[in-house]
């Protein structure tokens, strides 16, 4: 019993760290994007104020049970994704609930939140919501393909589906990172990550100019607050996952140094997404599907074939 409580306590600490880090990171990246556009940009702590503001609304409107459950599923998806990824290799606090088949479960959880949200947004009855959901799921199906191929390639390379084991085998210097031992899988995965993060050019799902904000059009108040919180956790989880899969994870004897390594690596991963986002205009849905089924999928296939040979 005590073990479970201690584990829950560690998990809570881990969640708080990733939540706060992601919120600051989202705010910082918005500021970087503003600098690219020649603006000063919002304060880096703006995401915190937005979440407090959303939760401080005095009224909220619900459209039914599923509408309530949409953000709950979404948050469950975000939490589930993060909870099964070991954030820092070798740390008791930050190993979360990692187990031998966690990679498969994490891939499932990445999809889970979107499906829950699709049901919730559908009940809102707003025509833009299902439009956003349809675009989101179509795009997701497309980028899941190169991502899944990259994961299969890594699983074949290391003969394991455990993220901890994958990180363990990348220790001992940068030349052991998947990015260098299996560059094709890294390329496919990082291209899929662009779609996963829903920044430009793959932001048509939540395009504010044509389908007001997409799936969450009708969500307000504390529902929106929950979605904003999830956005931070989910973003953090995905960056940590990609750091673990391709960039050697974060490991050091001193926990603080390991956290700093994680911060640096995830910052660079997010910076890459932001730079691509600031450089390219938005794709239409069919264009992004065509993109993901083209070069990234071929890279993924090549990575798998090379590992199987």
């Amino acid at each position: 019993m005590t073990d479970i409580l201690i584990k829950a306590g560690f998990l809570f600490i881990s969640l708080m760290v990733i939540l706060n880090y992601s919120l600051v990171l989202i705010g910082t990246m918005a500021r970087i994007r503003a600098k690219v556009q020649g603006r000063i940009g919002q304060p880096f702590y703006q995401p915190y104020i937005d979440i407090i503001k959303s939760n401080a609304k005095r009224t909220t409107i619900s459209h039914g049970v599923m509408f309530y459950l949409g953000p709950v599923f979404r948050l469950a998806g975000g939490l589930g994704t993060y909870m099964f990824i070991p954030a820092i290799y070798g740390s008791v606090i930050f190993s979360n609930l990692a187990f031998s088949g966690d990679l498969l479960l994490v891939m499932y959880f990445i999809f889970f939140g979107q499906l829950g949200m699709a049901l919730g947004a559908g009940e809102s009855g707003h025509p833009h919501s299902p439009l956003g959901v349809a675009r989101g799921l179509a795009q997701m199906t497309a980028f899941e393909l190169p991502f899944a191929l990259a994961v299969i390639s890594i699983a074949a390379q290391f003969h394991t589906l455990s993220i901890t084991e994958i990180v363990a085998q990348q220790q001992g210097g940068w030349q052991h990172w998947v990015a260098f031992t299996n560059p094709l899988a890294m390329a496919a995965g990082m291209l899929a990550f662009l779609g996963m993060s829903m920044n430009n050019p793959f932001s048509v799902v939540i395009a504010p100019q044509e389908i007001p904000i997409g799936p969450p059009t009708e969500y307000q108040g504390s529902f929106l607050g929950m979605l904003q919180t999830n956005r931070a956790i989910f973003n953090g989880a995905k960056m940590v996952l990609f750091m673990n899969l391709f960039w050697g994870g974060a490991a050091h004897e001193i926990l603080l140094v390991a956290i700093l390594i994680m911060v640096l690596k995830t910052f660079l991963i997010y910076l890459y997404v932001t730079i691509v986002g600031a450089s390219f205009p938005r794709f239409r849905t069919e264009q992004s599907i065509r993109f993901f089924l083209g070069v990234p999928t071929l890279l993924g296939l090549a990575a798998v074939i090379l590992q199987m040979l």
């Binding site: 919002q42 703006q46 959303s54 005095r58 409107i61 059009t217």
Partner: protein
Amino acid sequence: MSDELNKTSEWGELGAPAGTPVRNPDPRTIPGSPEADEYSVGQLRILTKELTLANEGLADEDKYLYCDQAPDVIKPFRGFWEDFLNWARAESLWILGFGTGCGAIELRPLMTSRFDMYRFGIQPRPTPRQSSVFVIGGYASVKTVKRIVRSYEQMQGPKFVVALGSCTINGGMYWDSYNTINRIDHYIPVDIYIAGCMPRPEALLAGFKKLKEMIKDGQCEGANRYAEHFEWYKGNQKRVIKDWNMPDYNW
């Protein structure tokens, strides 16, 4: 009557060019006509005896689809906690991206690098459900008032209204126009006016700054004012909006 109106209102004193087909509009939509007055008086009932919304603009078979509860006054918290929440509300102003009048053109420059409203925590939001500030961008025609009311009521409280331009204060150059309303605060509660024709983006930023101070002071309780004087606001709205075919409160 309708021929006369066609001549004077649409084509000016010279009347319509020869050969222009005469339209026969719905007499209930002609301002000042007996049918319109009768129609609007018939529609003025807002609350039933049970204090639920009458929703008389809806067809009987549609009434069950809509909520018939009038909005309530929700009292703010007291002391430090409400001050903290008001600070968050003031520092995160999401504007409803809906150009209601010509003044909306002055909102666009605020997003650009020259004025950059994002640094003050102000950003546009494309749906009324998530916005907290409604910017009335200048004159409001009767048709637009209907949309303004719908959008305003869909926003979740606390919500703030910024009316920019002289037209929102007294009608401005449209004050005797047949199809624009003069004072927007007869129809929805306004928190702050930004005068000018048109006010420059700098004036808008100054207005937003003032709005922030007012929110932090706890002076912006427009949503509660609307709920408190609901029948007065609704009566004014129904007097000008003749084709009232929506619920009495758009939850």
